[in-house]
């Protein structure tokens, strides 16, 4: 039976207006965040479906489930959908859109209509991609390397390129909106050093979105032009250099991985502070490390090209720079750890995801350093070692941060509490499933299994079977939150304004918030993460788990 709120329901952004028109024409950043939530979840399942087929094929050494060409399409579309239509938008477009205005104390983003436009652009890109997949798909790998993509592939390269080109503009507009909002819309008293680190992380992410995305946009234009007109820009037979494509592609696509991880780091910072009841250790270091990651992230792209034919001197430079980019990430890990030290730790579901993030991101990041070493790279490039490395960061890091954030802010977003017991179980299942899926892949890559192959020597089968088993468990772990979040919207306990007694302006307004976020414009006179003050009246009470 639905649990009704015993109090008469306050007007909030969800019930202020009803009807599909009020959602499709909304300029409320919170509603747009939910529109994005539905769209990216949809694409997550599409990308996940392709992953399922990949892992099913890899259960056996022979290529017996699908044909080789089909397998090429599967891993290509898995990558394209997950990167461009799930990971890149995920946290910024859902949690960022919802929270950035509230965290700075504003009524909305700087450009609400551009925000809505960005969602429509995303949807158009998504429809183009769906059509592309439904009418034959692409088989070039998500990396579109030339001259295969421009001169030899018989698949729908142009349509996929256009779909991603369009989706890129959604990303650009989101970043633009965030930067202007953070600069111009902060409430009185909200100085830069009082901003939540979630904001700093999204600010850094937005810088990357602004500067990087246009480069892949023009690269895709060149690919489409080359493929249509055989211009020779990337074709060695016509005097072109295929590596030029790779330089231009990776100039965006490497910083893109920081678009995917920085917001997640912002989420984890908020969660760790709240569930350790402590101010983040080294606030300025964490804030500046986000900016440093954004800047350094643009300096390392050719580490994806060490074996592609770049000069060895360039390779040396990029290898050195790749070691440098790890430093700000390591700074964050140290600061999170130092925050936990002597904190009052609570093991609610968001914190479980944060712990998972800490361990898995560290492993993923360290294996990135292995890959940045030229000698090791020669050996493991284009093997499952690389795949394991980036999935540890993208899935073990970014997706866990996303899920942790969805749990942490779910009461604020929906006005309902999710069932804590199920949530902790799901977090555990995700963690176990994830490690079972991807740890064997480190070993597989190290002993030589190449990526993008649908058949492999029989001695690799055990590891592949373990990986597929893990993927199934991981899938269950992902389904559970979907089910109980939906369940909670009707049957969940109504949430108080601040169920976690967390710091941050978003917790000072109702759950769910009113359309203009605050009844009165906030005036900030306190520092960020003022957990000592927040906990002072409650020090005698035992903190209650959800």
């Amino acid at each position: 039976m639905a649990i009704e709120n015993p109090q008469p329901e306050r007007v909030n952004y969800l019930n202020k207006e009803y009807g599909i028109g009020s959602w499709l024409l909304t300029t409320d950043h919170k509603r747009i965040a939910l529109l994005y939530l539905i769209s990216i979840t949809f694409f997550f399942f599409i990308g996940g479906f392709f992953a399922l087929l990949i892992r099913l094929e890899l259960l056996t050494p022979a290529g017996d489930l699908v044909q080789a060409d089909t397998y090429n399409k599967l891993f290509t579309m898995h990558g394209q959908v997950m990167v461009f239509f799930f990971l890149i938008p995920s946290i910024p477009a859902v949690l960022g859109n919802f929270l950035v205005p509230m965290m700075v104390g504003a009524k909305d983003l700087a450009f609400p209509r551009i925000n809505l436009l960005s969602w429509y652009i995303y949807v158009i890109g998504g429809i183009l991609m769906l059509h592309c997949m439904a009418t034959g798909g692409v088989d070039t790998g998500w990396t579109f390397y030339t001259p295969f993509s421009t001169a030899f592939s018989n698949t729908k390269v142009i349509e996929a390129g256009l779909a991603i080109f369009v989706a890129g503009f959604s990303s650009i507009l989101t970043g633009l909106n965030f930067i202007v909002t953070i600069h111009r819309m902060r409430a009185p008293g909200m100085t830069w050093s009082r901003l939540p680190l979630f904001i700093w992380a999204h600010y850094a992410t937005s810088i990357i979105q602004i500067l990087g995305t246009p480069v892949i946009a023009i690269t895709l234009v060149l690919v489409v032009a080359e493929r249509s007109l055989h211009l020779g820009i990337f074709d060695p037979k016509l005097g072109g250099d295929p590596l030029l494509f790779q330089h231009l592609f990776w100039f965006y696509s490497h910083p893109a991985v920081y678009i995917m991880i920085l917001p997640s780091m912002g989420v984890v910072t908020e969660i760790i502070a709240c569930f350790s009841r402590k101010r983040i250790f080294g606030y300025s270091f964490v804030a500046l490390s986000s900016i440093a990651i954004a800047v350094f992230g643009f300096l390392v792209w050719a580490h994806h090209m060490f074996v592609a034919g770049i000069s060895v001197y360039a390779a040396l430079v990029f290898s050195l720079l790749s070691y440098a980019v790890a430093v700000p990430s390591a700074v964050k890990v140290f600061n999170w750890t130092a925050t936990l030290y002597k904190g009052s730790i609570h093991y609610d579901a968001p914190m479980l995801y944060a712990f998972g993030f800490l361990g898995l991101f560290t492993i993923g990041g360290l294996t990135g350093l292995f890959l940045a070493a030229l000698g090791v790279n020669m050996h493991v490039h284009d093997t499952y070692f690389v795949i394991a490395h980036f999935h540890y960061i993208m899935v073990g890091g970014a997706v866990m941060g996303y899920l942790g954030g969805m749990h942490f802010w779910w009461p604020k977003i929906s006005g309902r509490l999710y069932p804590e017991g199920w949530a902790r179980l799901a977090a555990l299942i995700v963690f176990i499933g994830f490690n079972l899926t991807f740890f064997p892949q480190f070993i597989l890559g190290y002993v030589g299994m190449p990526r993008r192959y649908y058949q492999y020597p029989a001695e690799f089968q055990v590891l592949n079977v373990l990986s597929t088993a893990g993927a199934t468990i991981l899938g269950v772990g992902y389904l559970l939150p979907m089910i109980y979040f939906l369940w909670s919207m009707r049957y969940g306990k109504p949430a108080p304004d601040n169920p976690w007694n967390a710091a941050g302006l978003e917790w000072k307004t109702a759950s769910p918030p009113p359309t203009f976020n605050f009844d009165q414009e906030p005036v900030v006179t306190w520092e960020a993460y003022n957990y000592e003050e927040l906990d002072a009246p409650h020090r005698e009470e035992v903190p209650v788990a959800g």
């Binding site: 600069h183 810088i207 500067l211 590596l243 330089h247 100039f251 792209w301 000069s311 001197y313 360039a314």
Partner: protein, 96 residues
């Protein structure tokens, strides 16, 4: 925050004249053999013209905040990174 930044009409016409002069200079400098410096001269004049347009026509000079200048400088910096680090590859391939 920037106020209504605007220069006087005389300034605008003066900048316009400088831009026209720069164009003429570029055109005729290209017809003289300066050896390897032809491209450098052309790009220097182009950059000077760009600075004039950005500072005076786009009111960057009058902006009371450093923020807009920071946006411009950062963008140019990353564009130069793209060009320079790509050239680090192409320029050194012949060395091996």
């Amino acid at each position: 925050m920037s106020e209504h930044s605007s220069s006087s009409l005389v300034t605008y016409v003066g900048i316009w004249a400088a831009l026209i002069f720069g164009t003429i200079l570029t055109y005729f400098a290209a017809r003289i053999d300066l050896g390897p410096f032809n491209a450098a001269v052309a790009l220097t004049i182009a950059t000077t013209k760009t600075l004039l347009v950005a500072l005076f026509f786009m009111h960057l000079k009058g902006a009371s905040e450093k923020l807009l200048k920071l946006v411009v400088i950062s963008t140019v910096f990353f564009l130069l990174i793209l060009l320079a680090l790509s050239m680090a590859d192409y320029g050194t391939r012949a060395w091996s």
